[in-house]
Amino acid sequence: MRKTSIGAAAGLAVVVGLAGCAALAPSPDYDAMLAEMMKTSFRGEGIATVDRLQQDASNAECSKSVGKPLPQARAQAIEQANLATVKMPSDGKFIGDWKEGEKLAQNGRGMTWTDKSSATASNGGNCYNCHQLSKSEISFGTIGPSLYNYGKIRGVADPADPAAKPIVDYTWSKLYNAKAYNACSGMPRFGHAGMLDETQLKHLMALLLDPKSPVNQ
């Protein structure tokens, strides 16, 4: 989706351009100026290459709304497109090791121009930057909701129980591609963007859903 969506973004720009024509006084074409400014202002450094500035359709549309909510129909279309990218685990197993998940949640590294490698093994989950998880970690962010007791609140006593299946599927999809449920979510699309691999996602699943995980204590 990331690669094919550039055309979609261009299509969107055309629509916006036409809407602009309806206005009485022609306002400056800020979008074109912005594109030029972004191009001339940045350069590649290490693994952070300039192609990172390219937006897919979701990012382009959420950027252009400059903080205002999207019309419901547009939001739903973006969510559907993102949901379609979600790949469930190849072996059908969702739950890894919560201890590894906790390490990933603590780790905020990866993908900056000072990081050496963009391999998934070099990346953390960044979870505590934005979310509360286990009670013992007092240094947590609040950009996202608290995930303390995530599985417990949702009544997950055994993630393998078929009754837990909807929550398990939802949680996996949310981690894989957060825009599947909230078009302009601030959360990275860890699976879709290739930031975390299947095994790492399973560890985060365990942190959230394993009844033994400190998140559910």
Binding site: L34, M38, F42, R43, L53, G67, A193, G194
Partner: protein, 265 residues
């Protein structure tokens, strides 16, 4: 037997436990208060004032004739009106890009070379001191960026769009962290930069001495590290996107009292 220090330590640690009920936020606030008195930024202010008045560069001239927007040599109050449009360069400039212009025209330095120099090295280290000095000369004054010139309005509009520009492997924009009140990353409070976040908060608190790196950071370096954490490519020093963002944040902060150079974690 001599009394064991370790045993005493354990005992008193156990006795001290209830004190830890105090919230983490209270603890951090207490820590910041303790650091208020004696901000190492003062060291940079003093150095910067010396550099401003010292004849330097190929032309062996001082910066005392530099026009920061309020006329040649007028430093007081200049900082809280930047970025602004400058007729001589036909560009909207922030403090750092304006200093580059003055260093080139008055002192004969090569501005492009300085822009390419890594932060904290060579003339970049001198610019850190200069921004500490110039911003300190507006301490206590209110942010009041001009928006009368068409180019100033344009930079605000472009800055706004750049602020909300999501991209990169994490889909982050400036707005991901800085468009809502009362949020934080880990323990760090995040100012809402889409409006005036209050006196001495956000745009009105930079340049600042960064405790974590032990360095004085101007807005250029602040933005550079934001883009790094945003997982973006590298923004050029004094590039248009950095100036546009400053224009956007600075206009939004209108009326906020500047405490720069401040002290940051």
């Amino acid at each position: 037997m001599k009394p064991s220090l370790i045993a005493c330590a354990l005992l008193s640690a156990a006795m001290a436990a209830p004190a830890q009920q105090k919230s983490a936020a209270d603890g951090i606030a207490e820590y910041r208060k303790m650091l208020e008195d004696g901000n190492p930024a003062e060291l940079y202010e003093a150095k910067g004032e010396g550099l401003w008045k010292q004849a330097r560069g190929p032309k062996n001239a001082s910066l005392e004739q530099c026009d920061l927007g309020k006329g040649p040599g007028k430093v007081k109050g200049a900082f809280v009106e930047l970025p602004r449009y400058f007729a001589d360069t036909q560009r909207v400039q922030d403090l750092e890009s304006r200093l580059l212009s003055c260093m080139q025209t008055l002192q004969g330095f090569n501005a492009d070379e300085i822009a390419k120099t890594p932060f904290g090295k060579g003339e970049q280290a001198n610019i850190e001191a200069l921004v500490a000095y110039v911003s300190a000369e507006s301490r206590g004054m209110k942010m009041n960026l001009p928006q009368g010139h068409a180019e100033e309005k344009k930079m605000f509009e472009l800055g706004k769009r750049a602020f909300f520009y999501r991209a990169g492997p994490y889909d982050f924009s400036c707005a991901s962290c800085h468009s809502e009140e009362g949020k934080r990353i880990r323990m760090q409070d995040l100012p809402d930069l889409t409006k005036n976040p209050g006196d001495g908060i956000g745009y009105a608190a930079w340049p600042a001495y960064r405790v974590s790196s032990g360095q004085l950071w101007g807005m250029q370096r602040r933005l550079n590290d934001c883009f790094r954490q945003q997982r973006f490519p590298y923004p050029g020093y004094a590039s248009d996107v950095t100036i546009a963002l400053s224009a956007y944040m600075g206009v939004n902060a209108k009326g906020a009292e500047s405490i720069a150079p401040a002290l940051k974690r």
